[in-house]
Chain length 196, copies 2
C-alpha cells in the first residue's frame, strides 16, 4: 500500500523565500499551529495539515518527509522567543521573570508539541533546538548582568542544571503540572544553593 516516504535529505534546503515555495511553507506552518491549538498535538497528521493548508499531501511529504521534520521546521521559524531577557537590575527578579515567561510559553500545547518534536529529531540530528538555545542565551545574559553588577550568582552551568533542566524536563516529559510555584521554588533554591 505505502511506498517509502522520502528520507535522508534536508527537508528545507536553502532557497529564495519568494513565490509559491514561500507561500506553501507559510500556509503549512500556519496550518500546523492552528490544528495544534484546536485539536491538540496528538491528532496532528500530515494529511490533516495538507488539507488545512490547501496543499497536496504529496507536496508536504516531499518537502518535509515526516511529521517530526515538519514540526522541527515550524519550531525553528515560529517559536524563537520574542520576549527579551529580563533586565530589572536584580538577579532574583530577573530569574523569577525568566522562569515564569519560560514556564508560561513552554506549557502551551503548540510550543510543547514543537519542543518534543525537536528533541525527538535529535535522534537523527543531535544538538539543542533553536528555541532551547535562545532560552539558554537569555539565562546566560541574565547571569552576566548580575555578575557585572557584582551580585553573587550561580554559574551558567548551575543555572542550566538546576533551573532550566528541571523546568524543561518536567514539561517535555509530561511529569505532572508545572505551576508558577514550582518555577519560583527552582529559582529560590538556585539562589540559596549557588549564589553566595
Amino acid at each position: 500500500m505505502s511506498t517509502d516516504p522520502p528520507t535522508g535529505s534536508t527537508p528545507t534546503p536553502v532557497r529564495r523565500e519568494g513565490g509559491r515555495s514561500a507561500r506553501v511553507r507559510e500556509a503549512v506552518h500556519r496550518a500546523v499551529a492552528e490544528l495544534i491549538a484546536e485539536q491538540g498535538p496528538e491528532h496532528l497528521t500530515m494529511p490533516a495539515v495538507a488539507a488545512r493548508a490547501g496543499v497536496n499531501p504529496t507536496t508536504v511529504y516531499r518537502r518535509w518527509g515526516d511529521l517530526h521534520r515538519l514540526l522541527d521546521d515550524v519550531a525553528g521559524v515560529r517559536l524563537r522567543p520574542d520576549d527579551p531577557a529580563p533586565d530589572t537590575g536584580s538577579l532574583r527578579q530577573d530569574l523569577l521573570l525568566w522562569a515564569e515567561q519560560t514556564r508560561t510559553t513552554i506549557t502551551t500545547p503548540e510550543v510543547l508539541a514543537l519542543l518534543r518534536a525537536s528533541v525527538g529529531r535529535a535522534a537523527t540530528t543531535p544538538g539543542p533546538s533553536p528555541r532551547m538555545a535562545a532560552r539558554e542565551q537569555q539565562l546566560t545574559a541574565v547571569l552576566a548582568g548580575a555578575e557585572r553588577r557584582g551580585e553573587p550568582c550561580p554559574t551558567p552551568q548551575q543555572a542550566m542544571d538546576h533551573l532550566l533542566a528541571p523546568l524543561y524536563f518536567r514539561v517535555i516529559l509530561g511529569l505532572g503540572p508545572v505551576t508558577a510555584d514550582y518555577a519560583r521554588t527552582l529559582v529560590e533554591d538556585l539562589l540559596r544553593n549557588y549564589a553566595r
Copy 2:
C-alpha cells in the same frame, strides 16, 4: 511519488507473540540495535532496518509507521534497566552508584537514540518512556531505603529535579560530554543542598 504512510493506529497491537509476527519483530529489533551500534543513530532508516532484518520494507512501514514509533517500540522492549537499584546501606554510595550506572547506560549510542525517540514520541503520546520510569523507580527506592535507615535525605522530587533531570537533559540534548565527575557533582550537590 509517495502515498500516505499509515498513521493513527497503534503500531504494535496486543497479539500473541508467536509465529511469524514475533519472529519479524525480533529480527527488526535486533536490526535496529545492530545498525545503531555499527553506524550511529543518525544513519538509521526504515529501508536499512528492513534490509538488515531480511524483511520487506512495506511490512516494516505497515507495522511501525515511522522510525520514531519503531524506536519507541524497541525502547520499551529491549531497554528496561536490568541492573537492580543500588542497596549498599549508605545513601551517598547508593546515589553515586545509581548516577554512574545511569550515566554509563544512557550515554551509549543505542540507548541514547531510543531515549530521544521516546521523548519525541511524546509529541503525540505524552508521558515518560518505560525506560525513564524504571530509572525513576530505582531512584525512589534508594531514597526510601535511606529514609527507613533514618538518614537525612532529599525528597523524590528534589532528586528528580536536581539529579535525574540535569543528567538526562544534558545527555538527551547533546549539551557536551557528560562525565563521571559531572554525575558525581550532581550527587554531592544534591546531598549538600537537600539532605540535612
